[in-house]
């Protein structure tokens, strides 16, 4: 076998070669000093990294654990609100709610407008009818019937009417 490429040596070190290639490199290293040295170099680099990892290993700070629980505790009210909004926005709730809102938007202003109309007292209608009777073109009399003439000069006083007997 030719000298393995550096990539192959790395793969061999990590046991990532196919079985045949692995066996070939293994056999080559046993008889090639320069490749064996290169392999030892690979191994030394890895053991140096592992030693560094062991030396620099540290405990999990308590503040990290506390911070996790604290953040989750703060997020819960928001999550509850989001859950509520999520439930409200589901179609079987949202569609009837939207229809109700539209109907309310149409009918409530109408109802409010009706309530705001001025009330009219009965005398208004009576006065109005008297005026209409006076202008009926085919009436027997063109003038206001005497029977409907108010006997009260005070315009603001409630209207009272006397039925006159104008029959001959």
């Amino acid at each position: 076998m030719q000298h393995p490429k550096p990539e192959q040596l790395t793969d061999y070190f990590y046991a990532a070669l196919a079985p045949e290639a692995d066996a070939a490199v293994h056999a080559h290293l046993a008889q090639c000093a320069s490749c064996a040295t290169a392999y030892d170099d690979e191994a030394a680099l890895s053991s140096m990294l592992r030693r560094f990892a062991n030396d620099s290993e540290r405990e999990l700070p308590r503040s990290v654990v506390d911070g996790v629980w604290e953040r989750l505790a703060n997020e819960r009210p928001k999550a509850r609100m989001a859950a509520f909004l999520g439930a409200v926005m589901r179609p079987f709730v949202a569609i009837p709610a939207a229809i109700a809102i539209v109907l309310a938007a149409v009918f409530i202003p109408q109802y409010a407008a009706q309530r705001d109309l001025p009330s009219i007292d009965a005398s208004y209608y009576l006065q109005d009818h008297a005026a209409m009777a006076a202008t009926v073109p085919f009436g027997v009399r063109s003038s206001v019937p005497a029977a409907l003439v108010s006997n009260n000069d005070d315009d603001n006083a409630p209207a009272t009417f006397a039925i006159a007997n104008d029959e001959p």
Binding site: E7, D55, S56, R58, E59, L60, V64, V68, L72
Partner: protein, 186 residues
């Protein structure tokens, strides 16, 4: 059963899951984050965020699979997102005066035991060399050499192909060897 939504109210089971996860894997996750970031503040943030993700997505975890691989994947993704967010500022090497604080503790030199001092002197070039690698290269080196994952597992954690892991790892090791020699001389 589908994944639980984040908005669903927490259960006692969910809280117990998180508690156990922190207890069993908190230290390893923090150390992994520390080696990825090279400093304690970022490692703390990364670890905290990772466990929050674990809490939210706890039903996504498939029993019988490696929890460590899962949380390392979360950490790796969070780290990548953070690097993108910072737009490459994180790629800078750690400052010269930062190493003793980060890797040697904050004890005054006069009272530091000699074995700790020697240890720090030996590990400092490695720490600097690791910090000088690109984040992608650092990830694969940490996962392959320190965490001892296979190419296949690394590919799953990092989210790339085995071929990419192989080439990235080879380049990283070549670079690392040069950097360690350079920092040891200086």
């Amino acid at each position: 059963m589908g994944p639980r939504k984040a908005t669903e109210p927490p259960t006692a089971e969910q809280a117990a899951f998180l508690e156990r996860a922190i207890e069993q894997y908190g230290k390893a996750t923090y150390n992994f984050a520390y080696r990825l970031t090279g400093n304690e503040a970022d490692a703390r943030d990364l670890t905290q965020e990772a466990f929050i993700r674990v809490y939210r997505a706890w039903r996504s975890f498939v029993p019988g699979t490696s929890f460590t691989s899962w949380i390392y994947r979360i950490v790796t993704n969070l780290h990548r997102d953070e690097l993108r967010r910072r737009k490459g500022r994180f790629y800078e090497e750690i400052p010269e005066d930062n190493a003793p604080q980060d890797f040697g503790g904050n004890k005054p030199l006069a009272v530091e035991p000699i074995d700790e001092y020697v240890e720090r002197q030996l590990s400092e070039p490695v720490a600097k060399a690791l910090a000088a690698l690109s984040p992608d290269q650092r990830q694969v080196v940490i996962l392959a050499d320190i965490e001892e994952y296979s190419y296949q597992e690394i590919a799953e954690i990092v989210g790339c192909s085995i071929g990419t892991v192989r080439s990235r790892l080879h380049r990283a090791r070549t670079q690392l060897r040069k950097l360690v020699q350079a920092y040891s001389r200086s």
